[in-house]
Symmetry: C2
Subunit: 455 residues, 2 copies
Amino acid sequence: MHTCTKANLPRVDALSEPFINRLRKAVAIPSISAEDERRQDVFKMGDFLASELEAVGAQVEKRYLGKQPHKEHLDLPPVILARYGNDSSKRTILVYGHYDVQPAKKEDGWATEPFELSIDEKGRMYGRGSTDDKGPVLGWLNVIEAHRIAGISFPVNLLMCFEGMEEYGSEGLDEFVREESRRYFAGIDAVCISDNYWLGTEKPCLTYGIRGCSYYSVCISGPSQDLHSGVFGGSAQEPMTDLVRVLGSLVDTHGVIQIPGLMDLVAPITDEEKAIYTDISFTMNNLYESLGSTTAIFDDKERTLMARWRYPSLSIHGIEGAFSSPGAKTVIPAKVIGKFSIRTVPDMEPDDVDKLVFKFLKDEFAKLGSKNTLEVSLQHSGKWWVADPKHWNYSAASKAAEHVWGVKPDLTREGGSIPITLTFEEATGKNVLLLPIGSSTDGAHSTNEKLDKKN
Amino acid sequence: MHTCTKANLPRVDALSEPFINRLRKAVAIPSISAEDERRQDVFKMGDFLASELEAVGAQVEKRYLGKQPHKEHLDLPPVILARYGNDSSKRTILVYGHYDVQPAKKEDGWATEPFELSIDEKGRMYGRGSTDDKGPVLGWLNVIEAHRIAGISFPVNLLMCFEGMEEYGSEGLDEFVREESRRYFAGIDAVCISDNYWLGTEKPCLTYGIRGCSYYSVCISGPSQDLHSGVFGGSAQEPMTDLVRVLGSLVDTHGVIQIPGLMDLVAPITDEEKAIYTDISFTMNNLYESLGSTTAIFDDKERTLMARWRYPSLSIHGIEGAFSSPGAKTVIPAKVIGKFSIRTVPDMEPDDVDKLVFKFLKDEFAKLGSKNTLEVSLQHSGKWWVADPKHWNYSAASKAAEHVWGVKPDLTREGGSIPITLTFEEATGKNVLLLPIGSSTDGAHSTNEKLDKKN
């Protein structure tokens, strides 16, 4: 949260107690956007955030987005807009975050109550939302407050946009951002999003790229209803037999995608880009720790990071319609739907990827000589995003991070998608910076989510 | 139910009303063995059956099997044993059936209330248990009663054994049958089981063989927990990628099992056996109707029936641990378990099949060069069973069926398993006859289960 200032703020440590108390109050509100019965808590959290923003001197507006699509009995929680500073001689930074959280129950395996902030002797603050994304959101309030108390002028104007539906598809936000880009967000100079994580635990980073994702369903069907394998095994062509063969043709154990032409869409690597990977603070042990195993595709850091950030990957997620419970069931499923997705990178155009995928699946299925029926569809696609890391938004953030941490932050990319990044970039036309606050071990969507005090 | 008598029983039609009323009362008792809260109804159905048996003149005993394993709060329902006739000059036939039923709810898609017998204009009697197996069980009572009313001596002594846990694994029955084979069942001459179905709807059949089933799990694991495909796709070897490839190597679209040596275990077909298939009343349209499609492996009756009855088949049932719900989830599952089973036939020894399967999966997995871990296990295996269709038990049944239906019944086999068949044969050492009562369209475990009046 010190990104946008280069001033010394010596009293920040003295402020840590009130900062933690604010996070404690926020964590105590179970603002779970995915659970209907918690919607009132999402609203409560929005009110809390708005009043805290007002308390530090921001001008706050609540913007209501109407009813929730497909759940018309629910009101969407408001987008909290706030402005801090309006000095035309300063740059204006648009900040995005969210105040809703993932579901959490003690019995899921939490060591502490998920909606009570618990701090251990190492300064790890446990609680749902601590790192995703209440901690980072309140970080902006902390930095404003620290400046005020230190009597130091804030170096930029801040426009803040905090939503309450991020963990449930950011319902309504895309349209809102596009509309406000000509109104409330007009005149901003850059965007800063704090909703991702450091690559490791010790070194800060700035994130300038995200892979896209094209998610496909491949449905194979034959009989009109599920069959008993004792009665029909051997006499009917089984959709599941066809499906595992088709899915098995997509990618190999070493991650090599078997779809002809797909790799030709990938932008070749330049020497300049290649050089970035060598210095990045990451070891194979970091990967093995995250995996909980040594089942990595590559044995070296460079190829691992490239595979994660700048090359496509294909993952098979599962099969709908087949037997998926523990135990034994002798069913021949009548209709099975394989799900897989491709992480896309520059310069893969989603439409081109779709064409290659559809053709490949059709060809592979044709080879089987099956009487069953194949249907392939795209479930959703989100495009990759890459920013220019030489933009002043990045150099300023880099200097600020170096000031706080004593080390130049790594320039990283993300393998996963944060679709709102692209929306902000396209709607505002401005450089977007992803400024991760939490570390790689925070467990954003898991049990025992935490944020380290130092972060 | 006329199998064991060759006498004319002209007043049977006049009796149909009381017979149907008895079935109506039985169907009204929801004796679902798989649902804890229905256990009292299973006991109630046992009491009803015992009192009906006494009413037709049988000597009845209820045998309690103790507590249900793994569900110690539940008592197992009694096995109802009954004797009708004790004339040493007559043969004694042991009859097996069950009085529990599968679960059923109107909202599953029943056109009528599942626990109210509803009869349509075509004489189809709808209701849970109508054909599986309350109808066939009560059929034995009907035939006793018809003889009594007609004043005709019953041609054999009947020993009846009706259990209440068949739809939940016949808990405790195997041991019970083995023990009683030296006591209550001592002195029987043959066994008759009515718990399967005609091959079609028009021609009766006698069933002299059943395929066995060996059910396998193949587990592939790597990371210690599920991963996000955006973050780890491309850098981790994915268990699901390996699993679909291994499963895809087992069998092809045309049902050809790819496991070397497996087909060598199958008994070669003789000319005598081959000749049986030609005359069997079955058409490809019968198969297409059951499938609800024309996605059959073979285009001719003979190869279809052989594939179903006398050759092994391999079906892939599903995958545990992967994403199996509707929608899109970008997970890399950490541990996935493929389930498949092989229907076995003479002379495949289950142990030999296991060895070939384990070796094949190990070899296929080794080809992938994966760092993940493979574990293969046998979940359960039931052996195939074939009786001698030239035994007097079959010729008597054949003559009786011909007398009733005016046509010699087909000699058929079953693709699926009825494990209790083998238990009875092994425990008593006597010929077992499977005497199907219901027809192929009855939908035993489905919604709208029915039994035709004529059957």
